[in-house]
Amino acid sequence: MDRALLAYSEKITFLPERLTSGDLNALREVGYPEKQVIDIVLVAGYRHYITRIANGIGIEIGTDRVEESILAQYTYSPDSPTKKAAEIRELQGDGATLGQVISGTEPGLWVERPNSSGLGETLGREFQEWEKRIGFVPNWLRALSLHQESAAAAGDFARYCTFGGSPLGSPREHLIGYLVASLLRAPYFLGLHGSQLKEQGASGVLLKNVQGWRNAELSEQDQGILEFVEQLTLDSHRVTQEKVDRLVAAGLSESEVLDVVVLTSFFNCFCRVASALGVPLDPTSKSFFEEFKHAF
């Protein structure tokens, strides 16, 4: 069971776009019950949040907490090569475009969830909050319903990080979410944020190729933010004081730099969670994909 757990953790880290219902079945087959399958996804997802927070803010752990010999083994520098980068590139280099990855996504939610009568009071309230805010409950949140306390807390967390909940404001939240989703080839959040950016008037050039942000018409601040988001997502151990200072020099306050780190970390977690559970697109995302899928 431990081996299956670790194999899954590795895949959700490096190749989330390749996760299938078969990966969840492999966990079930070695004995994990349904709720623990969701636990594994959430615990792994949270680790992608908190590691980005730690690397993005430059938090270090002291020898008062960890033995020096262990610490020495797990100390990385910004010059360390990114682990398995070549292997991942080779696996991703199978010629599949982002559009093909999206088209090839196995349909349907891959985990069980209770029907609406099985919702507890806390999660029911959280769903109402989403109805009030955006007019629907996002499918990624419904997908977690079997784990009601976590789902309600994740919803609360997401209301802070998205749809204008954070001090950065809605356009930048969606911009960060869109880039992270594109880098992780995560169709669910790509559709969610892409459709919102489109509604807010983002340029077609940016929507068609957000990873080409360097060529899009963006402010110096937004360019700086996206450069930081890209690095924190792909090579978080390479974030340095200098990179943070560059954002401050571009006019962001230190609190706003923290906002960028929190949002990027949040999306690194929940893009993986959505891909891991096979969360179907929300209705608003479907028309967005119809319009843009040929460009991806």
């Binding site: 880290t13 270090e60 610490l71 306390e149 976590s150 209301r159 943070v244």
Partner: protein, 81 residues
């Protein structure tokens, strides 16, 4: 040293002070990843709430398996913290 300022426990007020106190009760100390978010107490509140419903015994996996996942992923993304 962290890349941005962090507010120490003794200077915390309001929501931040509550968050620090809650973290002390549940984890037994105020860890660096908690103070890392101190410039945005509301971000700290929502993220620690999510953590408390998902980890540290809240999952059915048990602490040992939670830490297996944590250690492997931290190493894979090269996060020594």
């Amino acid at each position: 040293m962290a890349f941005i300022p962090m507010i120490p426990e003794e200077e915390a007020t309001g929501l931040l002070k509550e968050c620090y106190a809650r973290n002390l009760r549940t984890v037994g100390r105020t860890s660096e990843v908690v103070t890392a978010l101190s410039l945005r107490p509301e971000a700290l509140r929502v993220s620690t709430h999510f953590r408390s419903t998902t980890l540290f015994g809240a999952s059915d996996l048990g602490r040992r398996r939670e830490e297996f996942i944590a250690t492997l992923i931290s190493d894979l993304v090269q996060c020594s913290y």
